[in-house]
Every structure is written in C-alpha cells, then in structure tokens.
Amino acid sequence: MKVFKLFFKIARAKAGIIILYIGIFLAICFPLVHSSKDKMDFEEASITVCVINEDQTEASRALVDAIAQRNRLTDLPNDKQKIMDAMFYEVVDDTVVIKKGFEARLQEPSGDDEEPLFTQYKMRDTYQTAMVEQYLNNYIRFVKVYTAEGDTLTEACEKAGAELAKEAEVEIVTPPGQEAPDQNYTDNFALYFRFLPYLFIAIMVNVLSTILTSLNRKDQKMRIECSSVKMSSYMSQIFLGSGVFTVLIWGIFMVSGMIVYGGVYQGLHCALAVLNAFIFAVIAALIAILISSFNPNGTVVNMIAQILGLGMAFICGAFVPQTMLGDGVNMVARIFPVYWFEKANDCLAGIQKGDLSDVGLCFLAEGLYIVLLVVLIVILSARRGGLVRQKKAAAQA
C-alpha cells in the first residue's frame, strides 16, 4: 500500500486548507441555522426600525413604545450618511424621524396645510417601509378619532397602541392530501446542506486534484512505471485513496452537521439529505479527477476551483435560493449538478414544491452526472494511454 500511503502523505500537507474551509463554514452556518424558530410556528418577519425621536414628549415616547411592540428597534445617530449605509446594507429596514412639535400638532391640528408629523427615510420601496408607513398612518388616525371622541391625548395614544397591537390569526398549514413536512429537517437546518456543494467542489478540486496532479507528474510517473508496483495495483490504490478521501471529507461534514443539528440526524428527510450530500461528494471528487487528467498547474487548479465552486453555487441556488433566481437562470442551471442537489435539498426541506418522487428524480439526475463523468475520465485516460503507447512505439522504432 505504498501508493495509498503516499496519497495520504500528500493529503496531510493540505490539511490546513480543509480545516480552514470547515472552520469558516461552521462559523457562518451555526448562527444562520439557529437564527429562527421551528418552521411550524408562525414567525413574523421582523422589521428593524430606527426611530429618531426629535420631539421627546410623552406622546412621542408612547409612539416609540407602540412601534417597539411589533418591531425591533435599533439606535442610529441622526446622521443621514450613517442611516443610508445601515439601510443600504439592510442592517436597518426603515428609519422614521418623529418631528419636533409632534405632540403639540396632535393636540391642536393646524388645519389642511398641516405639516407632516414624521419623516421616513427611504433607500428603496420595500415591504418593510410600506408596513411601517401603514402602521404610522393608522396610529395617527386612531389617535385623532379617540381625541375627537373626548379622550385625552395620553389615553388616545394608549388606546391606539392597544388597537394596533392586535394581531391577525395566522396558521401554517399542510394542504389536505399532502404529506406533512418532516420536522426533523427544517428549512433552517437545510441551509447547512445548501452551502455544501461549494465546499465539496472547493476542497475536492483544491486537494484531490493537486494530489492526483502530483502523482501524475512526468518524473513521478516514470519513476512509478519502472518500480516493482504493478500498474493495476497502482491504479487501484489511487482509486482506493480517492474513495477513502471522498468518504472522509463527506464524513467530516456530516459529523460537523450533527454539531449544528444538535445530535444524531433523525427522520427520513435527514437521511435523504445525507445521501444527497454523499452523491454530490462523489460528483465533486469525479470533477476533481477529471480536472487532474489535464495535469493543470497549481494556479489553474485554484482558478478552476473558485470558478466552478463560486459559479455553480451562485447560479444554481446555493448562495441565492432557486426561488429568487429568474426562470432563465434556473433553466441554464439545470445543466449543472449543483442545481439538482439544491432542488432535492429544497424539496426535502419543504422550501420548494416536491415530494419524495421529485427528490428521487433529482438523485437520478445526479447519478447520470456520475456516469457521464466516469465515462469522460475513462475516455481521457484511454486516449492518454494510447498516446503514451504511440510515443513509446515511435521511440522504439
């Protein structure tokens, strides 16, 4: 098993890259996966609002409290550039300024040419800004109605806040005749699996391709060819090494996933997601082997890893959900294996429409990629073998 040992000796030198990828991945995934509740509870999309209270009166403070009942408040300095930056990067969804004189104007409206009570800073129209706008309008309407009916401003503000704190009845349902979603594989946890294709491609291409390219170097190859190791034994050890390496990488990510999951995976959907990941790990390994067939240098391998990894991840729905991508992009993405991995993952998590037969179809598509890649690798190695034999024959002649 000399070749097998050599394989892992080279792999050990690349352990740093693998640890780096896993470390960054877990650091990003852990908070994302644990950022929201179970999917069977309705969870209102939270709106982060910055309220700048220029009035600082009882009425304006009552309004701030009322807004805080339904939204997440955040503090920002009254500086337009800072507000703009926060809104551009979506740290804050909406910014409202309660203008000076708010309480006075509510108590004594000045008529038709009334000054606006609020300034709402906008970057672009969003659901969040529309919701906050509606909330403020209704709050003021209620306050005016109650004050007109004889309540004091304090009472009116209190009543308006209470009226607008009433929530509509919402229920998450499974349509009749449909399978209830598997609670063991939530859409939050599915995020962990969603990012895996990028990592598998990056690691496999960066590490496996580099190992195989090193072993395929002309001088190495010549040394191995004149050694006592038979070619068949050499090839089978390389094959075994690649297989063990693939299972090892897949295993590391599945175990890391359990840390994020909080225990051993439960349920059929989790099992299928793990299988989906395994199938894709094999695809990534075959892509790496295919790339190494061309004997690229380190820079080219690195570039291919980044372009394939980032490119497929963006276009096929790993970084941006498939539901957000345009029809044209999704159509083009079908030619890449990551698309089918992501589609199966989304179906399992209930993010996209689809049952187990659709998941099976995705597995089948991924299986076809495995067959295609194996055929390509065999053809390329056969051609290369043929060329080598031709050269040897020519040299002998």
């Binding site: 780096l20 960054i24 990003i28 929201s36 309705f42 209102e44 999309a45 550039q81 703009m84 809104m87 551009f88 990067y89 979506e90 740290v91 606006p116 009570l117 300034t119 709402q120 906008k122 672009r124 129209d125 659901y127 919701m131 706008e133 509606q134 403020l136 209704n138 003021i140 309407r141 005016k144 109605v145 007109a148 009916e149 009226e163 009433k166 509509a168 009845e169 919402v170 229920e171 998450i172 349902v173 349509p175 009749p176 820079t299 080219v300 690195n302 570039m303 980044q306 372009i307 980032l310 490119g311 963006f314 970084f319 941006v320 991508l325 083009v332 209930g350 993010i351 996209q352 429409k353």
Partner: protein, 475 residues
C-alpha cells in the same frame, strides 16, 4: 536602463499565464455569473406583487373593496356583486387614482374555492389563503336587521338619515370632495345610485367585522406582509366604524392626514447586490499582491537565481526595483481598467455616473495591491510559490470579509467590529465605489482614497527598508 527594465517588466507581466487567468479571465467569468444570478433579483425594486387566495365563506364587500384598493383581483368562482359592492369598489378606486395612479399593486387576490386555494398554496402560486368567515354572533346581527326591516317607515327614515351621514363621511374619507353639504338623505342616496336596502347592508357591514384568518405554508416576508395587511384592514374598519358613528368628527382630516414625508436618501444605485461587483473590482486590484511579489524576490540574491544575477549586474538596485514596481503598477492598473470597463459597458453595472472616479479608485487600489505585494515579497525567506499561496489566501480572505461571497458578512462586521472594515483594504476600495454611487459629494470617497494612499506609502517604504543594503558573502 530604467525604461528598458520597465518595458520588459510590463511585457513579462502581461505574458504571464497567471496574470491573464487571475486578473482578466477569473473576474470576467465571475462577473458574468454574478450578473446572471443577481441581475433580475432587484430589477423590479424591493416590492413585488404578492399573490394571495381569498376564500369567502361569507361575502364581505368592504374587504373586497380594500383588496382592490391595495392591489388587483380576479375571481375563479361565480358570484354576483351587489350594488353596494360596486359603489364601494368605485369609490375606493377613485381614491386610489387620486393618490397615485402609478402605484404598484401590493396584492393580487384570487377569489376561489377552498380546494383551489389549497392547490395554489401547495403549487406556490399563492403565498397565503385568506379565509373570510362570518363574525361570531352573525345570526344575532342578521336577526336585528330583519327586525329593523320589518319595523315600518319610521325605521326606514332612520336608516336613510344614518346612511346619508355615513356616505358623507365615507366620501370625505375615501372619495375626495364632499359634495353633499346641503343635500337631504334621499338626494344623497340617489346621487350615489344607492337604495335604502344598500344602506341596511352598509350598516350591517360596518357593524359585523368579518372574521379573517390567514393560512400559509411557510414563513417569509411576503406572508408577513399579508398578515400586516389584515391587521391594517381590521384597524381601518375600526376607524371607519368610529367615523360612521362619530357625528361631528372630521373624517377627511382623520383619513387624509399627510402624516409622513418621504425623504429619499440617495439618487444613486440602491441595489444591494451591486456590492458583489464592487468587491470583485477591489479583489482584482488587491491581486496586485501576487503580481508584485517577484519585484522584491527577484532582487534578492539569496531568494532567487534572478536576484543573484541582478545583484552582480551594473544596474543600481533602486533602478531595478523602481522599474519593477512601475511595471507592476501599469500592468495591474490595465487589468483593473479592463475589469471595470467590462462591468460598466458589457454588463451595464450602474456605478452612479462617475465612471472616471471609479477608474481612479480602481487604479489607486491596484497601486496599493502592488505595494502590498512588494512588502510581502520582501519579508522572510519563504519561496515564491509559498508567498503566492499566502497572498492568494490573504486576498480571498479579505474579499470574503468584504462581502465577495456573502454580502451580509460586511454588515455583520460593521455592527460588531467596524474597525476591521475600516482597515480591510478590499473593503476600503469597495466602499469607495459605494460612496461614489450613493453620495452626492466626494468627501467620503476622498477619505477612502487617502487611506489607500497611506497604505501604499507605508508598504512601499517598508518594502524598501527590508530590501536595502543587503550584502552577500558569496553568490
């Protein structure tokens, strides 16, 4: 000799396979992929019309009118609209047109039966189903109405007067001008094309408040917006009921109060996905590190054969290094310019109309990247390949933190440790493009450019300090 070296430095750089791959092909390929993935995500702005199914177990004209006011609707079930329903829809539509004829509909309501609604929810054709049911105690209400209907002429007069008053309020609140100042009840009703029976329905409608339930398949912003719409509707019907019963309350001042003044923060490009493109250019600029490594490495006799040959040549070391640096500056600026040109003119990325400053920012970023490469090349005795690997890892790491792969990461860093963004060279260059796009003036842009120049000066000085006055016992 300087120009001779400069010429060959540029030729050497532009013929290097790595430079062509990393500085030209890689960013162009990635830009195309970014554009393909994000190009249409924000092309319609932040808001898209939310499709929603409505299942009416109990018809509610007011709710139907409000849905039409907020959006558009279609029906797949047979049903006849009442005279009152048509009047409400017409009044609300007039209000909608008065406010903003171009407003994008928030909802697309599909009236259908329960079975179709669930099918559409499962297929993802709608984001939620709104069930309109009779309110609790509906039987009692209808019983009261029947009593009122059969109680004779006196009751009719009460309903007509109440109805006329309610219509005046409703018109003031929703229909613009109040045109019935001195009209009696019958004139108002006939003017609106309504009957006493409609007024009885109107009274019931305001009194009853249908029970509205939202059923969804999964959480999300669109689902939350439907929920908030139901809450807003509930609040509005509450206000309308108060106004209808409120006697002297000035309805138009309550409903029409212009309480919010919108202030647009920028006229620039507010698409958050454009930051991926900014980061891409910044990354290419910083890849100058890998290009410039050889400037120091190939001038040190103990680190490379080139260095040994150059050490015994007659050309002064300063001239060789300066020519190498200038060559790297020029070739790297060229690569960044190609990347910006491709994005601006082929992919049509909106840089906010200040393209010359974008080129300037990119060029200074490239100079900073080269100076960092010169410094990294000068420190330690690591081999060229090892330093290339380190430089690539550093640039990709800095790009990651600046949001090249995941745009939210930069905002997270800004919230927890803003100093990291202030020091990250990739983030500095990317921010300068962002400021160019959104700021009306160039103050913050120049601030970032000063940081870039400071980095450049510091790294070049450190590089020179590390490479100067090296002597070797033997070569």
């Amino acid at each position: 000799m300087f120009f001779h070296n400069l010429k060959y430095e540029i030729i050497l750089n532009l013929r290097a396979k790595e430079v062509i791959i990393w500085m030209l092909l890689f960013p162009i390929a990635l830009s195309v992929l970014y554009k393909a993935a994000f190009g249409n995500v924000y092309e319609n702005g932040g808001i898209t019309t939310v499709p929603v199914a409505v299942v009416e177990h109990e018809p509610d004209e007011m709710f139907r009118s409000m849905i039409n006011y907020m959006g558009e609707s279609e029906s797949t079930v047979d049903g006849t609209e009442s005279n009152l329903g048509r009047w409400l829809a017409k009044t609300m539509q007039e209000k909608n047109q008065q406010e903003d004829g171009e407003r994008k509909p928030l909802f697309h309501a599909i009236y259908c039966n329960e079975e179709d609604a669930y099918r559409m929810l499962e297929d993802g054709d709608v984001k939620g189903i709104i069930f309109v049911d009779a309110p609790e105690g509906a039987a009692a209400l209808s019983g009261d109405t029947q009593d009122a209907d059969t109680s004779g002429d006196a009751s009719d007069t009460v309903t007509a007067e109440w109805g006329a008053e309610a219509i005046k309020h409703f018109r003031e609140a929703w229909g613009g001008d109040a045109v019935y100042e001195n009209a009696d009840a019958e004139e108002i009703l006939s003017g609106e094309g309504l009957t006493l029976q409609d007024m009885t329905s109107f009274q019931d409608m305001l009194d009853k408040k249908s029970s509205l339930t939202l059923k969804i398949k999964s959480n999300g912003m669109e689902q939350s917006s439907i929920k908030r719409f139901l809450e807003m509707y509930s609040a509005l019907t509450g206000i309308t009921a108060h106004l209808a019963d409120g006697g002297d309350t000035d309805s138009s001042s309550v409903m029409d109060a212009a309480v919010i003044a919108d202030e647009k923060l920028t006229e620039g490009n507010t698409d958050p996905f454009v930051t991926y493109m900014y980061n891409m250019i910044a990354m290419v600029a910083l890849f100058g590190m890998t290009v410039a490594l050889h400037v120091a490495l190939f001038s040190e006799a103990n680190l490379s054969d080139y260095g040994a040959r150059r050490s015994c040549s007659s050309t002064p070391k300063l001239t060789t290094i300066m020519a190498g640096l200038c060559g790297c500056f020029l070739s790297q600026i060229l690569c960044v310019a190609v990347c910006i040109t491709f994005q601006a003119f082929v992919l049509k990325v909106d840089f906010g109309g200040r393209l010359p400053f974008v080129y300037l920012g990119g060029a200074l970023g490239a100079v900073m990247g080269v100076s960092m490469g010169f410094f990294v090349g000068a420190i330690g005795r690591l081999k060229y390949e090892a330093k290339i690997g380190i430089s690539m890892a550093v640039v990709m790491g800095l790009s990651f933190m600046s949001g090249l792969m995941f745009s939210g990461i930069k905002a997270s860093i800004e919230m927890s440790a803003p100093i990291i963004n202030d020091l990250n060279p990739v983030a500095i260059v990317a921010d300068s493009f962002y400021y160019l796009s959104v700021d009306p003036d160039l103050t913050r842009y120049w601030g970032k450019m000063v940081c870039v120049l400071l980095y450049t000066v510091v790294f070049i000085l450190l590089g020179f300090l590390l490479t100067r006055r090296r002597k070797y016992e033997s070569l």
